[in-house]
């Protein structure tokens, strides 16, 4: 693989560049010194809520409801996390217990 080190380096370089562009672009377009348009501020206030929803769906995008195990390990775990979190409101507890439950479910209950 050493003869292709330039090729791999180039691919790594464009991955760095693409990531830096997408992360810095909003801050370059709307610098802190200048007044940010109202519409952009509105986006900044609403997008966090929509984006977390997008991320939850992103994590579950591969679920196959029509074939075994019908997304049950995920749905049961998320149900448990929701119940536990509404009850106790302790993030670490909800995440820890939910993850362990999911591991048990996929390793032992729905192998």
């Amino acid at each position: 693989m050493n003869e292709n080190i330039v090729g791999y380096g180039l691919i790594t370089g464009v991955m760095v560049l693409a990531t830096v562009i997408t992360r810095f672009l909003p801050f370059l377009l709307f610098p802190a010194g200048k007044e940010t348009p109202k519409y952009i501020l509105y986006l900044g206030q609403t997008l966090p809520y929509a984006t977390i929803g997008l991320l939850v769906v992103y994590c579950l995008r591969g679920l196959q409801f029509l074939s075994y195990p019908h997304g049950l390990p995920e749905l049961i775990s998320i149900g448990a996390i929701t119940g536990l979190h509404l009850w106790k409101g302790n993030s670490l507890l909800s995440i820890g217990a939910g993850t362990i439950l999911y591991m048990v479910l996929i390793q032992s209950v729905f192998p």
Binding site: M15, F27, I52, V57
Partner: protein, 235 residues
């Protein structure tokens, strides 16, 4: 900034990063293992985890390496997959406004998980908030890089089954979703985020749904903005 205050920020930041630690050590290790299996040693895994530092792109990047793809193709695929970072940036414009010399790193390290931990985070009075943001960001990247190195070095030696441990990240997002919902704000936006994304998974398929979902979310939220504006103008 005194050392004492920085330490207070670190102590405040650390517990908030623990779910990310669980997720990143596992996902990072999985990345290191995959790189190793495909014949790319620890230095590549380390280099990419430090400088690219974008989980899903790094996984996709393994396929770029294996197929030795054209850099332009790699570039545009990376932009597409990373497009969601634009939303994080827009959401953090105000929050990171006065971060000063910490700002470049805060922006560079704004991953899905760091964003999700910080977007609701308001440290109490007396704890320097930008240092909290900074420590959360640094710790998260530290977990990721450590995971990748462990995976590259010791991947074959793990004896217990870690299958499903990466669900910690899903759990993290679900918990943040619930916290946001309980805050009583942004219900409509949260609803739009879930429904538009789910619709786009069904319509466009799971591998390319992100960009259409982002566009749909933007369109709906923009429509909401203009409706609110019109209401304000015509009471």
């Amino acid at each position: 900034m005194s050392k004492k205050k920085k330490l207070a920020a670190l102590c405040y930041a650390f517990p908030r990063t623990m779910p990310v630690m669980a997720g990143y050590l596992v996902l990072g290790a999985a990345y290191g293992i995959l790189m190793n299996v495909n014949g790319f040693g620890i230095w590549w895994a380390l280099l990419i985890s430090v400088f690219v530092y974008a989980g899903s792109l790094q996984y996709l990047g393994i396929t770029f390496f294996v197929a030795a793809v054209n850099p332009w193709y790699a570039f545009f695929m990376s932009l597409m997959l990373n497009a969601r970072h634009l939303f994080y940036g827009l959401s953090m414009l105000d929050k990171y406004k006065d971060a000063g010399r910490l700002k470049p790193y805060l922006v560079f390290s704004l991953t899905d998980e760091t964003f999700s931990v910080l977007c609701n985070e308001e440290p109490p009075e007396g704890i320097p908030k930008y240092w909290v943001y900074f420590f959360v960001s640094v710790l998260d990247q530290l977990y990721w890089v450590t995971g990748a190195v462990i995976g590259a070095l010791a991947g074959t030696m793990i004896t217990f089954s870690t299958a499903g441990m990466d669900f910690a990240l899903t759990a993290l997002f679900v918990v943040i979703f619930i916290d946001q919902w309980k805050s009583g704000k942004g219900h409509q936006a949260a609803f739009v985020g879930v429904c538009a994304s789910a619709l786009c998974v069904v319509v466009f398929g799971q591998s390319v749904f992100i960009v259409p979902a982002m566009i749909l979310i933007l369109v709906i939220i923009t429509a909401g903005y203009f409706m609110e504006k019109r209401k304000e103008e015509q009471p």
